[in-house]
């Protein structure tokens, strides 16, 4: 397990030692880790998406970049216009027949390591558009790492999938050099979220009424960005 000398990162055991100010100063600025782990940690927290949208789902993806949701908290707000600078291709919308070769080319122009999130029913399987001009799922021609259900998935779902992808990327191990160590990519087996969430979902007994609204304050600081509102989520 990773052992850091600084206490800012998750999975970290802070090693207390010595008692002088020197130790604590050094402790805040020096870390010891396996290079592999450090790289994985870096990749995980800087997943830059390609700025590419297909249809309705892209609007929800774009919404998650704005301040109410703010994916900058996860280091994923740096949307790149060029596939060569991007790590994640989010296929956000309907995969049209005419645009399939374009997606394929964008994917091929991305440098390894690269990941694909399939956002929304259309991209997962064609969704409600079983139609002559729509490819029934982007996985017919590029590999997909995370499938996100929904039509469209709300921004929360986008963030959940981003975190899932992060946890996968964080525990992937990749070769450091062509000269030593295993040359293959070691990938964790990701659990099916349907199975993971089943017990909780089956256990749900109380549902909010759809006829009576809970009292909602549209001016609360949840909607950041007005005078007096705090930006959310910075803890």
């Amino acid at each position: 397990m990773t052992e850091w000398r600084s206490g800012r990162l998750e999975g970290v055991r802070v090693t207390e030692g010595g008692d002088g100010p020197l130790t604590s100063v050094v402790g805040q600025s020096v870390l010891f880790a396996k290079l592999q782990d450090l790289l994985a940690w870096g990749r995980k927290n800087s997943l830059w998406p390609l700025n590419f949208g297909l249809s309705c789902c892209f609007v929800e993806m774009a919404t998650s970049f704005t301040s109410v949701y703010d994916v900058a908290r996860f280091g994923a707000e740096v949307a790149r216009g060029s596939p060569r600078q991007a790590d994640v291709l989010v296929v956000s919308g309907t995969v049209f027949l005419k645009v399939a070769p374009v997606i394929k080319q964008l994917y091929e122009q991305m440098l390894e390591p690269r990941w694909v999130i399939s956002m929304g029913s259309c991209s997962n399987s064609g969704g409600m558009f079983d139609a002559y001009s729509v490819v029934q799922g982007v996985d017919k021609f590029i590999p997909v790492d995370v499938y996100m259900p929904g039509c469209p998935p709300p921004p929360h779902a986008f963030m959940e999938c981003l975190l899932l992808l992060q946890s996968m990327v964080g525990s992937e191990r990749r070769p450091l050099s062509v000269h030593f160590g295993p040359q293959d990519v070691q990938r964790p087996i990701m659990p099916s979220m349907r199975d993971a969430k089943r017990a909780e979902r089956m256990g749900q007994r109380e549902y909010p009424s759809i006829d009576v609204l809970p009292r909602t304050d549209l001016l609360s600081s949840h909607f950041a960005g007005q005078p007096g509102g705090r930006s959310k989520g910075k803890s």
């Binding site: 309705c56 929800e60 005419k98 399939a100 394929k104 609204l213 960005g225």
Partner: protein
């Protein structure tokens, strides 16, 4: 040739017969006017012989008093499987021209029947320049040729496509034709098909005259480009930095909605309409449901009408906000979009509380809306409309008064009123040219006549003025919502008509008949009487219209969806010619469009 009575007002019948007698006088007795059709929408509909088509169109465009100056829509129908054609002179295909007269505030539909041997018509590009894409679309979808069209090639489908999708013998589902694969050779072929060759579009590669001699530069923008807001492709021909011409390439977002409409029941097509323009939710459902109700003869109760209006205006605000933010972003102001998306998030909270969905509410039903408003809706709505005007003041200072934004948009992408009409511009695009034309005012529907609001206009028709119109419309929408809030009528939220769908639960459980009625109504949906109806409404981007043809079954025989974005994207070359390349994004940003609304 008889005119049957219909449920229209006397005034409009008089209008109609006035127009028809003018037409008949022009056509004379040589039989070029084959028949007059009575449709449920009250739009005068005449069948013309194809030989006289151009003559009649020219007549109504330029010789008739108070002429029909706009080609509003142009499409076709495959008639080969139609059973209930009511004695109409149909052939195998019908091409219909929907014209509009601002002077008369009236539509005119001209139909031409075609037979198998002669699937061609004369092109009318010289009469209305916007016929260009409509004719290409018909060629693409039906395989009907237009003689004299300079670039008659596929518009929406890729050039290598085989078959004509909207013909009745073309498969509708992807799962009918085997799995999609993209092996290397197909990838190469499809990517080659996207190569742009200037010669194909009649664009020269070089320029010569006495004093200069240079090569044009061709720049490809999209389909994956951050400035095009989706999968739109534009190829710009440049002389230095100046735009000489632009060739838009669309169809990257073609979702076959018109074909899908032929296999969904009347009721189950409603969620698809949400996705026609995915930013404006229920504003898409409005024309569709109104057209279905027109076919079925359903009257919508006042409360349902007011709920529809209120939610429509919320979506109009949400859509305008996205437009406003991205427009400011396109010309370099990056912060407004964050504020505006926050406001949109508040609107979506209200929408979610009422409809249950955010972007795709699926909220209107045939005859009303899905549910009554939840208890507590008024508090949410009031909070929003009390607070929002102040925000709009902020935006005016932040965006509209911004000197950089003004420099980049004033006088850029100017559209004259004549061009706007000739190219089929509607909505804020048209109002920015000074024509106060808003269907909510001039041909009210769903009870808009009871609301007090104004139709904002601007005068120059440039990018800045389009923003001004959007900005002012936000306030008018708030005004309408406030009136809904203050005087929401009581009563049922859906019609009690037997064709209203889904049927009300309280009418079942009486005996076996009511149970069966309910079951059939819910599972199969209503069977609508044969007929045709078209309704256009003022959606956020312009006029959207649904032209439904019922053959007397649970499905639509043909659904024609006319969208404003299609017309507006076709005008981009017109607005951008002569501007600098950097202004192209300002022009594109000022055209309120959504790719799903362009390609359907």
């Amino acid at each position: 040739m008889t005119l049957r009575a219909s449920a229209l007002s006397d005034a409009s019948i008089a209008e109609q017969s006035g127009l028809l007698s003018e037409l008949m006088a022009h056509c004379g007795s040589d039989g070029s006017l084959v028949a007059v059709q009575t449709t449920k929408d009250g739009i005068p509909t005449v069948w013309i012989k194809r030989q006289q088509l151009r003559d009649v169109l020219r007549y109504v465009k330029s010789e008739l008093s108070r002429p029909f100056s706009m080609l509003f829509d142009l499409s076709a129908t495959d008639e080969r499987l139609r059973r209930n054609h009511d004695g109409l002179p149909i052939g195998t295909f019908t091409v219909f021209y929907h014209l509009f007269s601002f002077d008369r505030n009236q539509s005119l539909r001209i139909k031409v029947a075609l037979d198998d041997e002669s699937l061609s018509l004369p092109s009318i590009i010289d009469l209305w320049p916007n016929a260009d894409w409509y004719e290409r679309e018909i060629f693409d979808m039906f395989g009907i040729r237009f003689e004299g069209h300079p670039f008659l090639r596929r518009l929406l489908m890729p050039s290598w496509w085989d078959g004509y999708p909207l013909r009745k013998d073309h498969p509708s589902r992807a799962t009918e034709v085997g799995m999609f694969q993209l092996p290397p050779d197909k990838l190469d072929m499809t990517q080659d098909a996207l190569q742009f060759k200037p010669e194909d579009w009649g664009l020269p590669r070089t320029y010569h005259d006495r004093d200069s001699d240079f090569d044009y530069m061709f720049i490809n923008l999209g389909p994956a480009h951050t400035g095009t807001h989706g999968v739109l492709r534009l190829v710009a021909q440049l002389a230095g930095e100046e735009i000489v011409n632009i060739v838009p390439d669309i169809g990257f977002h073609h979702r076959s909605q018109e074909k899908i409409a032929e296999r969904q029941t009347w009721h189950t097509f409603i969620p698809y309409t949400d996705r026609i323009d995915y930013l404006q939710g229920v504003l898409n459902e409005m024309p569709y449901c109104l057209a279905v109700e027109r076919l079925a003869g359903i009257t919508v109760p006042p409360r349902a009408q007011a709920i529809r209006v209120m939610m429509s205006e919320f979506y109009r605000i949400a859509s305008h906000l996205v437009w406003y933010g991205t427009f400011a972003g396109d010309v370099g102001a990056l912060s407004p979009v964050f504020y505006m998306f926050n406001d949109r998030e508040r609107i979506l909270s209200i929408v979610e509380a009422v409809c249950g969905g955010r972007m795709h509410p699926n909220w209107f039903r045939i005859g009303g809306v899905a549910r009554d408003l939840p208890i507590g809706w008024d508090q949410l709505v009031r909070q929003f409309i009390d607070w929002f005007p102040e925000r709009l003041d902020d935006y005016e200072r932040l965006v509209m008064d911004n000197p950089i934004l003004k420099q980049r948009t004033v006088g850029i992408g100017v559209l004259s009123r004549e061009d706007a009409i000739a190219w089929g511009a509607t909505g804020p695009m048209l109002r920015a040219c000074g024509l106060p034309w808003d269907l909510r005012k001039v041909r009210p529907y769903s009870g808009y006549e009871q609301f007090d609001f104004e139709v904002p206009t601007a005068s120059n028709g440039d990018c800045y003025d389009r923003a001004v119109v959007h900005m002012l419309e936000l306030r008018q929408s708030l005004r309408i919502i406030r009136q809904c809030l203050d005087s929401m009528p009581a009563g049922p939220y859906t019609s009690l008509d037997p064709l209203a769908t889904p049927p009300l639960k309280q009418h079942t459980m009486q005996d076996i008949e009511t149970l069966i009625n309910h079951f059939v109504g819910v599972s199969w949906g209503p069977v609508l009487p044969p007929g045709e109806a078209e309704v256009s409404t003022e959606s956020s981007k312009g006029q959207t219209s649904y032209y439904l043809t019922s053959d007397g079954s649970q499905f639509s025989y043909r659904t024609r969806i006319r969208t404003p974005s299609f017309a507006h994207i076709q005008m981009v070359p017109l607005m951008a010619r002569g501007e600098l390349l950097s202004d192209l994004l300002a022009v594109l940003g000022s055209v309120d469009y959504v790719l799903s609304d362009v390609d359907r």
